[in-house]
C-alpha cells in the first residue's frame, strides 16, 4: 500500500501518464472524427505504424522534426483517401477495408524499413523533440510540444463539432445521411474529408512514438495501441472531452502497471500486468455498451438514391 502511495506521489509517474496518453489522445480523436460521420476506420493500427515509420524516416533523412510530423500526417491522409475510396466511393465493408489497410500499411512500412536499412541490427536513432522546459507548468513542461498539440486539439475538435456549421454537417451525416443530403450536404464529400483528416491524426499519433517517446523505429512498436483507440471512442461515447478522459484513465493504469512491474515485489508474472490495458479496454466496452449512443449511420454505407 505504501508502495502505491509512493508511486502516486512521484511527479515522474504523472509525466509518464501524460506521455503514454498522448498517442492515444491523437488516435482516439482521429477515430472519433471518422466515426462521427458514420465510417469505422480499422486502418488505424497500420496507419500508426506507417506514420511512425515515415515521420521518423523523414527526420533521419535530415528534415526538421515538425516536417517529420507533417510527413506522418500526409502518410495518414494517403491511406485515409484509400479507405474513403473503398468505403465511401465503392461502399465496401468498412471492417474489411480497414483491416486490409492495416495489413498493407504495416507490411509496406516494414518493407520500407528493411530496404532502407538492409544490414543494421541496432535501429538508427534521431534526435527527438525536446521537452518544453520553458513552460511554467509542472509535469506538462516535461512533455514535448506534440503533447501540448494533442491536448489543445481536444477543445478545438469539440468546438468544431458542436459550435460550427461544419460540425453540424459532420454529425448529421453520421446520424442521418438522407436528411443531410436533402439539406444540400454532400455525404460523400463530408465523409471523405473526415476520414482523411482523422487518418492524418492517426499518422501523427504514430509519429509521436518515433519522434517524441522514443528516437528510433522498432517492429511491433505500435502493438495494439490503434485497437485501444477504437475501444476508447466507444468508451467516450464519441465525445472529445470524454475521449481525453478515457485516454488519461487508460494511461494511468498502463503507467501504474509498469511501476508495479518494476517495483520488484510483483507477485504476479509480468505478463498479467501487461494484459491489464487490453482487459480494461474490453471492460470499458462492456460497461458502456448499454448506454452507448452510436452514431446512427455507423458502418452503414450510403448510396445516393438507394435506401
Amino acid at each position: 500500500m505504501t508502495d502505491l502511495l509512493d508511486i502516486l506521489a512521484n511527479p515522474a509517474f504523472w509525466v509518464a501518464v501524460l506521455r503514454i496518453a498522448t498517442p492515444l489522445i491523437l488516435g482516439t480523436l482521429g477515430v472519433l472524427l471518422c466515426e462521427r460521420t458514420g465510417v469505422l476506420n480499422l486502418g488505424i493500427e497500420g496507419i500508426m505504424v506507417a506514420g511512425a515509420f515515415t515521420g521518423w524516416l523523414a527526420v533521419y533523412a535530415g528534415a526538421p522534426l515538425w516536417a517529420g510530423v507533417g510527413v506522418a500526417a500526409l502518410t495518414g491522409m494517403m491511406f485515409g483517401l484509400l479507405h474513403a475510396f473503398l468505403t465511401v466511393g465503392l461502399a465496401l465493408s468498412q471492417h474489411v477495408s480497414g483491416l486490409g489497410i492495416t495489413l498493407l500499411a504495416t507490411a509496406l512500412s516494414y518493407f520500407g524499413y528493411r530496404v532502407s536499412f538492409p544490414k543494421v541490427n541496432t535501429p538508427p536513432t534521431i534526435v527527438p523533440f525536446a521537452p518544453m522546459e520553458w513552460l511554467p507548468v509542472p509535469i506538462l513542461n516535461a512533455q514535448t510540444s506534440l503533447t501540448l498539440f494533442a491536448l489543445l486539439l481536444v477543445p478545438a475538435i469539440a468546438w468544431v463539432l458542436y459550435r460550427t456549421p461544419l460540425g453540424l454537417a459532420l454529425r448529421m451525416v453520421g446520424e442521418n445521411p438522407q436528411a443531410a443530403e436533402s439539406q444540400g450536404v454532400s455525404v460523400a464529400a463530408t465523409r471523405t474529408g473526415a476520414i482523411v483528416a482523422g487518418s492524418a491524426l492517426m499518422g501523427v499519433a504514430g509519429s509521436f512514438l518515433t519522434l517524441s517517446a522514443f528516437n528510433a523505429f522498432f517492429f511491433n512498436m505500435v502493438n495494439g495501441r490503434g485497437w485501444i483507440c477504437v475501444a476508447l471512442v466507444v468508451f467516450a461515447s464519441w465525445r472529445p472531452g470524454k475521449a481525453l478522459l478515457g485516454a488519461l484513465l487508460f494511461a494511468f493504469f498502463d503507467a501504474l502497471q509498469l511501476r508495479l512491474q518494476q517495483s520488484g515485489d510483483a507477485v504476479l508474472p509480468y505478463q498479467i500486468y501487461l494484459m491489464l490495458p487490453y482487459l480494461l479496454s474490453i471492460l470499458a466496452l462492456v460497461l458502456v455498451a448499454r448506454k452507448a449512443s452510436y452514431p446512427q449511420a455507423l458502418m452503414k454505407p450510403y448510396r445516393k438514391g438507394e435506401r
Binding site: 484509400l82 465503392l90 465496401l92 471492417h95 507490411a107 528493411r114 495494439g224
Partner: protein, 353 residues
C-alpha cells in the same frame, strides 16, 4: 461517381476477378522490387520457383498451407454470418495450448491413456478451447451490442500474453534450456508424414476434409442455410423464423473450433510443442485467405495454397536477391484490397458523371 447494380454477372467474371486482381497487385508491387534494387523478372521467377518450382517447394508450401486453410475456414464461417472474427490468432494459440495440456502433461499430472484414446481427446480439447474463446465476444455482440472486431482483436493480445506467462511458468519444458517452450506431446500423438523425407503431414488431409465438410454444411444443411440467411440480412432472417441468436452462437463455436484445431494440428503435425513464434500471424492471414476465396470454403483451399506459396517463395527469393521478405505480406495485403474491388466490379457498373 455512382454504382449501378448489374443484372447478372458471368461465371467467368467471378473466377477471373480474383486472378486479375492478384496479377494487378503483382504488377504494382514490381515498383517495390525496383526500389529494393533487384531485377523484377528474376525476383518474381524466384518467388514462384521457391513456392511452386520443385517437389521440395511444394512440400514446404503445402505444410505452410495447412494452418492457413484452417484459419481461412474459421474466418469464412464467421464472415458468412457477418460475425467478424478477427481473433483466430488467439484461438489458434488457445487450441495449441489445450492440445499440449491434454497430450503433453504426462508423468505425474497427466493422463495415462493409450494414444488412440488420447488423440481424439486432444483434438476435442483444442476445438473446445478455440470455440469458447469466440463465444464470449459473440455473446457480447448479441446481448450487449459490443462490436466483436475490437473485442476479438484485444483478446488476441491477452491470449498471447497468457501463453507467454504459461510458457515462462507452469507449462515450461524444464528440458528446454531456459527457452519459453512448452513440454512436448507424448509419443504416438504426432500426425504422420504425408510424403516421406518432407515436412508435409497428414494435417493436410484434415484441412482439406474440413473444408469439404464446411462446404457441405453450407450447401446441404438447414443450419448452413440459416448461417447464410443471417449473413445476408439478419432482420429478414429473424422475420422468416430463423433463430438468429442461436445461429450466431453456433457460428462462433464452429469458427473458433476450426481456428483452435489449426493450433492443435500445427503442434501435432509440425512442432510437437508450443512456442510464441509458432504462428507468424496465421490468424490474420486467414482473414485475407477467406476474402480472396470469396468466402467459398473450397476456394479457401486454393487461396491458402497460393498465399502459402507466396510466403514460402519469398524466403527463397529474399536469400537470392536480397529483397526483404516483407514483400510477401505487401502482396497478400494488396491482393485483399484488389480482390475486394474486382469482386465489386463483377456486381456493379461504375458510372462517372
Amino acid at each position: 461517381m455512382r454504382l449501378e447494380r448489374r443484372h447478372q454477372s458471368s461465371r467467368a467474371a467471378l473466377v477471373l476477378a480474383p486472378v486479375g486482381a492478384v496479377a494487378f497487385t503483382m504488377a504494382v508491387s514490381a515498383l517495390l522490387v525496383l526500389w529494393a534494387g533487384a531485377p523484377v523478372g528474376r525476383t518474381y521467377a524466384l518467388l514462384l520457383q521457391g513456392g511452386f518450382g520443385s517437389v521440395f517447394a511444394w512440400s514446404e508450401t503445402l505444410t505452410r498451407a495447412i494452418p492457413l486453410i484452417l484459419t481461412g475456414l474459421a474466418a469464412t464461417v464467421a464472415f458468412k454470418a457477418r460475425l467478424f472474427n478477427i481473433g483466430a490468432e488467439g484461438q489458434l494459440f488457445a487450441g495449441a495450448l489445450a492440445a499440449v495440456a491434454v497430450g503433453g502433461m504426462h508423468g505425474g499430472t497427466g493422463f495415462e491413456l493409450a494414444p488412440w484414446v488420447l488423440f481424439p481427446l486432444m483434438m476435442l480439447a483444442a476445438a473446445v478451447a478455440g470455440a469458447l474463446l469466440l463465444l464470449g465476444p459473440a455473446l457480447m455482440k448479441n446481448r450487449l451490442g459490443v462490436d466483436e472486431v475490437v473485442t476479438t482483436l484485444l483478446i488476441n493480445f491477452i491470449v498471447l500474453l497468457g501463453v507467454s506467462a504459461l510458457l515462462d511458468g507452469p507449462m515450461k519444458d524444464p528440458a528446454a534450456m531456459g527457452w519459453p517452450q512448452s513440454v512436448a506431446l507424448q509419443p504416438g500423438l504426432e500426425l504422420g508424414k504425408l510424403i516421406a523425407q518432407t515436412r508435409v503431414h497428414t494435417g493436410l488431409v484434415w484441412a482439406v476434409s474440413l473444408a469439404v465438410i464446411v462446404w457441405a454444411i453450407f450447401k446441404y444443411t438447414v443450419p448452413g442455410f440459416d448461417i447464410r440467411a443471417v449473413g445476408a440480412n439478419a432482420r429478414a432472417a429473424a422475420f422468416a423464423g430463423v433463430p438468429v441468436t442461436r445461429t450466431v452462437v453456433w457460428v462462433a463455436l464452429l469458427s473458433g473450433a476450426l481456428a483452435g484445431l489449426a493450433g492443435a494440428i500445427e503442434v501435432a503435425g509440425r512442432t510437437s510443442y508450443v512456442t510464441l513464434d509458432m504462428s507468424p500471424g496465421y490468424g490474420y492471414t486467414g482473414i485475407v485467405i477467406a476474402m480472396l476465396a470469396g468466402l467459398h470454403p473450397l476456394g479457401v483451399i486454393a487461396a491458402g495454397v497460393f498465399v502459402a506459396g507466396v510466403l514460402v517463395g519469398a524466403d527463397t527469393m529474399s536469400r537470392a536477391v536480397g529483397v526483404p521478405t516483407y514483400i510477401a505480406d505487401v502482396i497478400v495485403a494488396a491482393s485483399l484490397i484488389a480482390v475486394l474491388v474486382a469482386t465489386l466490379l463483377t456486381q456493379y457498373r461504375v458510372r462517372m458523371k
